[in-house]
Amino acid sequence: MNAAATPLLELRDVSTSFRVGGFFTPRLLKATQEVSFTLDRGEIVGVVGESGSGKSTIARLISRLVPTTGGAMLLDGDDVLVSEPRRASLAYRRRVQMIFQDPFGSLNPVHTVAHHIERPLLLHGKATKENARSAALELLDDVGLRPAEDFIDQHPHSLSGGQRQRVAIARALAPEPDIILADEPTSMLDVSIRMDVLRLLDDLRHKRGLAILFITHDLAAAKHLADRIVVMYAGRMMEEAPADQLVKEPAHPYSQLLMAAVPRRGGSLHDPLPADPGTPPLVDPRPGCPFAARCRQTVAACTTTTPPVIQLGPGHRVACHLHTARTQ
Amino acid sequence: MTRILLVGALVAAILTPACAEPAMEPEPGVLVVSREQVGSWVRNFNPLLAGGLARWPTRGGIYEPLMVHNPAQGAWTPWLATGFTWGEDVTSLSFSLREGVRWSDGEAFTADDVVFTFDLMKKVPAFDTQGHWRYLRSVSAPDPQTVQFAFARPFVPGMEKIAHQVIVPRHVWESVEEPVSWTNPDPVATGPFTEVRRFDHQVWELGKNPNYWMDGAPKIEALRFPAIPSNEQATIALMHGEVDWAGNFIPAIDRIFAGRNPEHHRYWFPNFGGAIFLYPNHTVGPLKDARVRKALSRAIDRDKVVQVAMYDYTSPADVSGLSDGYAQWRDEAALTEDPWTDFDPAEAARLLDEAGLPLGEDGLRRGTDGQPVTLELSCITGWSDWVRAAQVIARNLQGVGLDVSVKSYDFGAWFDQLQRGEFALSIGWASYGPTPYGFWVGAMSSGSMFPIGEVAPQNWHRFSDPEADTLLAAFERTADPAEQERIAHALQARFQATAPLLPLFLDPSWGEANTTRFTGFPSAENPYSRLSPNHELEFLHVLTRIAPREPVVAEGN
């Protein structure tokens, strides 16, 4: 395999489960099951799904905040789960950074903006004690907090949500990472400024060649920002396709349902939905397709066997028996 | 808001009946006694059980001894026995028993009961707390009114122990299977009070013996014992007149008790008991030297100790270490020869210089190694009078250049150290009995001395004197009062010369009485006994003499 063909990050059948419940009543929550996709330099991959679909877990898996229970995670072709099984190395941390959903929770209220940005700079040797402040000022300027001097000594509570999220982005940029995991970076922000933050991420991708994993529940935002979109349901990957293609021709019934639920100009609440609304099973799913209970197009196999992921077209993969049957 | 008012009204309604419970007077002739400080009563009248676990007055008031010693007069009073005679070589002793004595169930009291009691103690070692069977060989009853004690060796002090042994009825006790843990809930005895009329955990009553042998005694109907757990509560009870007779320490007694009712609130704290000493450990450096010990003694301001620690209720001890109760044994003339219990810091300093403990520039005395002499003075946590005394003593000793610090330990720890000889200075008591024999054994005999680290029941300071040993052996072999007195004076002289212990003050005997309802309590004017109920057996005198006061109304008519 030559270097060019090796994706920057590749997930192969990554699974994880958590123990929930009490000491005497343990249950296994399968947060993700056999998730596979790749992420390349300069690419934005969107991951969409409802709450509980496991989309945030993917970000936490890659950031090594939660342990995996199976599969492989390849960074430049090297399976990090093998080379650094217990805890992520500092080198890995430098390359993979994360932006969290809640800018109020992801900045420590007792520390200043300077602390938040200087700390990773120093930790990863990107600055010395002497020039940490100027490097931090530069980063703040990069993320659009101008003039940076006005912000650097502030505490998080004196900043607005959008400003905080920019600080969080600056912090993620400090180690000069290759990958940024953005976990719903705008869902807590005011509508009028969301696009600014997304645009900033887009610019950074172009300027710095970053790979961004964009996790969102907003299919429309994913469509506008991402190159490819992965649809998650109940911890499983349902479909993966180039963004435009997914929006125009969603192959999976769940993707279709998601599409139908998005408000659109001229649309009406009276338009029919293609599937039964309901909640995805979280714990100990039954065999078969997790979406089978809500799906209106089930075949016999849906309740017995888990549909395999099949290739529908270039970059378009789906896990659905309807398509399995069709391709066979 | 109305609810709050309602709650307030409710509280008021509750409080009203709470106001002052009607004070109920005990029935006439029932004497209320406060002697044991306990939270609740346990019904136990086993007089042979060690450790005073039986209710007061089981040993004495319920079960009686052969004879009763009275330190106020230094004499023995015949009780169940009318007298005793020593046999040849003082190896046998016979007591003749009083006639007409009956157990409270009506059975006759005989020599058989005495023999049974002593044999029981032989069979059950836990009962032999006096160690009778260390000197006895056998006990027999030649006739129903005579008991014969055969000794294994000549041991005159044994008579005191035998005379003070309380006697239990054979016909009851011979069928008891586990005598040690038997609580004897309904005692059958010879004493003045034998009938348990009531027993609650908070109060109990003991009625008089219907068959008591002494004519006209007891004069009171019953004794009542409320459970009072603390000194403070006991004092309140006395002040309120709820208690007629007590043996408590009461601070400022003139003001808070006697002063409240000068006519009827009486107290008498005579010094007929033992004494409290400063124990110098003879194995610790400079304390080996008698001059140093005497210097220490000279440095102590005993008047201050008595004033601060003992509220002036007692008096300083003298060089004999013997209290007023031992008047007949004391050699008054010898006391002035070398009065090392007198407060004289200058003399103390001279003695220390002489003993080679020079004063350093920092004001501290140096030992032979050139280091300052530091001594720890141990006392017991919570024994407040001793702690106070220790504080005064430490200050006094610091005054002559000795670095003495007070350290208080929990009783268990303190006693453990004391018995093993692992201390420097400590306050402590000494043996006390009808004669000072036991005191001298503990102070100076080689028989009571154990090596450091071993548990010594007495002689904690580790001292023995060959001359004293000889004198004590002689004392054990003579029943002749004149000879006994001669030996006692010689022993006192040895004590004064060697200063093995430093007498501090006399241990006072606490006794209070409320004479509103009863008369006949002992006092300084009528010292037929000490007033305190705390002295086992001695209080029998009081129990048999006090009488209800005739109703004033009846007198007027």
């Binding site: - | 509750i14 409080l15 136990n44 059980l49 060690a50 450790g51 005073g52 836990a126 009783f411 018995q419």
Partner: protein, 328 residues
Amino acid sequence: MGGTARYLLGRLGFYLLAAWVALSLNFLIPRMMPGDPATVMFARFQGQLSPEAMDALRETFGLSDASWWSQYWTYLRHALVGDFGTSVAYFPEPVTGVLLRGLFWTVVLAGSAVVVAFAAGTLLGTLAAWRRGGWLDSVLPPVLALLGAFPYFWLAMLALFVLGFGMGLFPLRHAYSDQLTPGLSPEFLASVFRHTLLPALTLVAVSLGGWMLAMRNTMIGVLGSDFIEYAHARGLAPRRVMLAYAARNAILPNVTGFGMALGFVLGGALLTEIIFSYPVQGYLLIQSVRAQDYPLMQGLFLTISLAVLAANWFVDCATVALDPRTRR
């Protein structure tokens, strides 16, 4: 529901474990103390007892030279059947008898004091929070805080001397009048009430502030909840909102505190005994320590520990009953 039972059983398991630890500590502590009961007994006589008596005493108390391990097993076996041996200080009464006596009056005094303090404090806290800034809310907290800051025994002594001794309003000692025979007669019960009132009131006085403030502060927090606003919006009567919505939820943390307090008072009323001569367990404890009465000490310590554990378990049960969210 099965989950609830299992949860409660799990808590029970924990408490059993804690009981075992308490049991073992209980075994160890007295054995690590210097001296033994015989020496203490001996000392009571201050030299009037012959030295020979000591061995006899040791024999009486059955002081064992067996190894700690074998003593420990014997101890555990006996403890399981409630046999703590014979008390030394109350020889030859079995420890169980001594304990039961103390326990009864402890429950009467401490139990009623805690219940009254809890009930009154909670009610006052509820009213204060409901009428914020009212006289109840502005006057009572500082007064009760000051009252609670006094050492308990100090207040108790002052109360005894001023109200009991000086003014003759209350009996000075004991749980009932000495003139009465224990029974269920009205006079006896009235006497018990009179004797219990002052000790209980002093206990209530020092703890009332804590309950009130805890309830008030929790309640103020609860009053800020959406469901209070929602209840008002539905036109519910204020009293209904105060009791069934606000107080009902605010009381939950206090219930946990109630378990702790119950246990604390069982052991902590020892100063009461000494000051009011009320025959509760506390005095027994001091006495057993002074007399080196291991069996009694162990029995007491264990009773108190078990009482605390039982109280906590009941609180767990109560919490489950009161808070449906804890049910699984």
